[in-house]
């Protein structure tokens, strides 16, 4: 019997699709630029990125967003490849969030 991936939703009941425009935040554009640099330099590939999505729990996948999943997947791959340290990333993220960003006050 087929194992259905979380992304494999063709033919399942779906309800209403929201269509309102949501202008991207600065971190979202920044994050996509970083993703594209890593991709075009062969550090990660799109199939790996899709795999990180599919390995998320259904709860996490559904709670997250397009940009959130992309960010989490990118981090997952960089940790997996030993390029960044999860604890160091956590500490630096906390520091940045405390100081504030272009998207929010610290």
């Amino acid at each position: 019997m087929a194992e259905r991936l979380i992304t494999d939703i063709g033919g399942l009941p779906a309800g209403e699709v929201p269509r309102q425009e949501a202008p991207p935040l600065f971190w979202q554009k920044h994050m996509l630029a970083m993703f594209n640099v890593l991709w075009s330099n062969g550090i990660l590939n799109l199939d790996e990125y899709r795999r990180t999505m599919e390995e998320m729990s259904p709860e996490d996948y559904n709670r997250s967003t397009f940009y959130g999943r992309r960010l989490d997947g990118m981090i997952e791959l960089l940790v997996e490849k030993g390029l960044i340290d999860r604890a160091e990333l956590g500490a630096r993220t906390d520091d940045i969030l405390r100081k504030g960003t272009r998207d929010h006050a610290g």
């Binding site: 087929a2 194992e3 259905r4 991936l5 063709g10 590939n45 199939d47 790996e48 899709r50 795999r51």
Partner: protein
């Protein structure tokens, strides 16, 4: 598997999309499995995404095809035109001749 597999199907050939039951990253949607369609065109050879998804890059390139399926065969409650079709890109190892 040979480094460069040959194209096994020609446009118009009838094929069945398999259900390989393979865990991990695959790109053959569940709704298309065990369905019969016809080869629309050969797309060329590409590295297998089922390998690339785990960082195994630079391996053998395998044939990829566009397979045309009738919407009526995919969805039992399809209400569109009889002639409506859907084209999916499916890798060679997910196909069998009919």
């Amino acid at each position: 598997m040979p480094a460069e597999s040959k194209a096994a199907y020609a446009p118009g050939d009838r094929v069945r999309i398999l259900d390989l039951g393979k865990p991990g990253h695959v790109r053959t949607p569940v709704y298309a499995r065990n369905k019969v369609g016809i080869i629309d065109r050969y797309c060329g050879r590409f590295e297998n995404p089922e390998e690339r998804a785990y960082g195994r890059v630079g391996r053998a390139r395998i044939p990829l095809y566009r397979v045309r399926l009738r919407q009526r065969d995919l969805w039992t409650d399809y209400e569109g035109a009889e002639a409506d079709t859907l084209v999916l890109e499916i890798y060679d190892h997910w196909l069998r001749p009919v």
